[in-house]
């Protein structure tokens, strides 16, 4: 009996100290890059895995298909890149709020997921933009709101951590934001549209691709205001300073643009009006 006790308490001690070691490691990673993470990164490079971080609730850029697999325009592009550049492709769904932690810890190589450059120019190493996106305002189709000025005094919602919220928090939009009755945040766009449909909120600030998808699939429940909240561009974001991988991606994407593969992939998502939003042609020489 006593023996069993000793064994159990030793086991407990081992597990507990392992936990503490694991915790302290992850805590220090964000500030100081430990040698351990460097080693991990090197092994990643040896295996040549290319890990793409994405939000799995962000159609058409990354989402869960009917069969449960991860699908999306950006994932298709990334997997085509890997095929051409000889990487092993890995799609890693992340919590959008934790994207910087994931990138800084080296859990993902890049964020390739309708990732907005505007306002984040100096925070990441970017490829050239390939999609021009805008943040639009969506209201219920029976709503009296017709133009941007009408949303004064209304309840407006955006996704937490999204570019719509970032845009509204900017100094230049202070007047618009202060005119709202309140600015609410939702965890994902689907709940945003449910809040809009059920009359909890009056207006949803949302990226154009997501808006088009819901406008097309909701049988006229919603309408989009003709004035945009803002216009913005998407690119692939790497950890600041990782120009080597960035250059590689830019080179392969340019090839994909020239041989028409890029547009062919975009056409698979034409329900989302993706082809209208492609702006890569302006950047490929």
């Amino acid at each position: 009996m006593k023996n069993l006790k000793t064994v159990l308490s030793t086991l407990f001690l081992i597990v507990f100290s392992l936990l503490i070691v694991a915790c302290s490691n992850s805590a220090s990673n964000t500030t100081v890059e430990t040698t351990a993470t460097k080693e991990i990164k090197e092994t990643v490079a040896q295996k040549k895995t290319f890990t793409v971080g994405f939000d799995a609730e962000y159609p058409p850029y990354g989402f869960v298909a009917d069969d449960g697999s991860y699908k999306g325009f950006d994932l298709d592009l990334a997997s085509e890149f890997c095929k051409r550049a000889g990487y092993e492709f890995k799609a890693q769904p992340i919590d959008w709020n934790s994207k910087d932690l994931e990138l800084n810890q080296g859990n993902i190589d890049c964020i390739w997921n309708g990732f907005t450059v505007t306002g984040r120019e100096n925070d990441y190493t970017w490829t050239f933009p390939y999609v021009d996106n805008s943040i639009v305002l969506v209201v219920r189709s029976d709503s009296k709101i017709e133009k941007k000025a009408d949303i004064a005094g209304k309840v407006v919602m955006g996704q937490a951590g999204s570019s719509a919220i970032t845009a509204l928090e900017e100094e230049e939009n202070a007047e618009l934001r202060n005119s709202f009755k309140s600015l609410e945040q939702c965890p994902d766009y689907n709940s945003g549209f449910m809040n809009l449909e059920s009359g909890m909120i009056d207006c949803l600030a949302v990226d154009i691709g997501v808006a088009k998808f819901h406008l097309n699939s909701s049988n006229g429940k919603f309408k989009q205001l003709s004035e945009n909240l803002s216009s913005e561009q998407y690119a692939v974001g790497f950890k600041k300073g990782n120009t080597k991988l960035r250059d590689e991606v830019e080179k392969v994407i340019s090839e994909m643009w020239k041989d028409g593969t890029f547009i062919k992939i975009a056409e698979n998502y034409k329900d989302y009006s993706l082809t209208d939003m492609i702006c890569l042609g302006e950047y490929v020489k």
């Binding site: 964000t30 945040q185 965890p187 059920s198 009359g199 909890m200 909120i201």
Partner: protein
């Protein structure tokens, strides 16, 4: 340093929103739990069967799903649009009813654990059924259920972060948003410390209450 003070203040500002959920749930769920216990222990088969079914549904489905039902249910089931003012009531109803189900089972175990001798003695002394319950059974039950109730209360404090599923911004959401904006995990650690302090206080107070009930030992 200023930066950290700023983070602490901003995270703490979300603590108010979490506390509203916490205190409202405690106030409503404890009495409601007792009512469900009575129903569950009722001699009426219909009543006890219904209470049993209620408890099994409330415990057997995720709290997050129940919050969705209370929040979106009025519109998607009955086409009643209640506006954003419905959000906090929906959260409090969802949390209170869910926790009442757990409390009900804890209370039942507390009541059923009291020896038959207590009832027999009360009967011999001429106590009516309600007198027996109020003066003899209930105080002993309270003593017995304090440790498991403390457990549930601590879980409740941590569960308040579920409210963001229906867009209610509470402490953990504020922390996550600052963490995202500043690319640091410090706000999450700060939130963790706040949860811990709050739970420590709860455990301390409940420990005191438990001790004050220990008058026969």
């Amino acid at each position: 340093m200023n930066n950290i003070t700023d983070i602490i203040i901003r995270v703490f500002s979300g603590a108010g929103a979490s506390s509203i959920i916490f205190f409202s749930t405690i106030i409503f769920s404890l009495p409601l739990g007792l009512l469900i216990t009575f129903a569950r222990m009722s001699k009426l088969k219909v009543l006890s069967g219904f209470a049993g079914f209620l408890i099994s549904v409330l415990r057997g489905t995720p709290l997050m799903l129940q919050l969705f039902m209370w929040y979106y249910g009025p519109f998607y089931l009955f086409r009643v649009s209640l506006g954003l003012n419905w959000r906090l009531p929906a959260i409090i109803i969802g949390f209170s009813i869910n926790y009442a189900a757990y409390f009900a089972e804890i209370f039942r175990s507390g009541i059923e654990g009291i020896p038959v001798g207590q009832y027999e003695a009360a009967s011999v002394l001429g106590y009516t059924n309600s007198q027996t319950f109020i003066k003899i059974i209930f105080p002993q039950m309270v003593k017995r259920v304090i440790p498991p109730v403390t457990n549930e209360i601590i879980t409740l404090i941590k569960d308040t972060s579920l409210a963001f599923a229906i867009t209610y911004t509470e402490m953990f959401t504020v922390a996550k948003q600052i963490a995202a904006a500043k690319a640091t995990i410090i706000p999450l650690l700060v939130a963790g410390i706040f949860y811990y302090i709050f739970n420590y206080i709860v455990a301390f107070v409940m420990g005191r209450i438990e001790k004050s009930f220990n008058y026969y030992k």
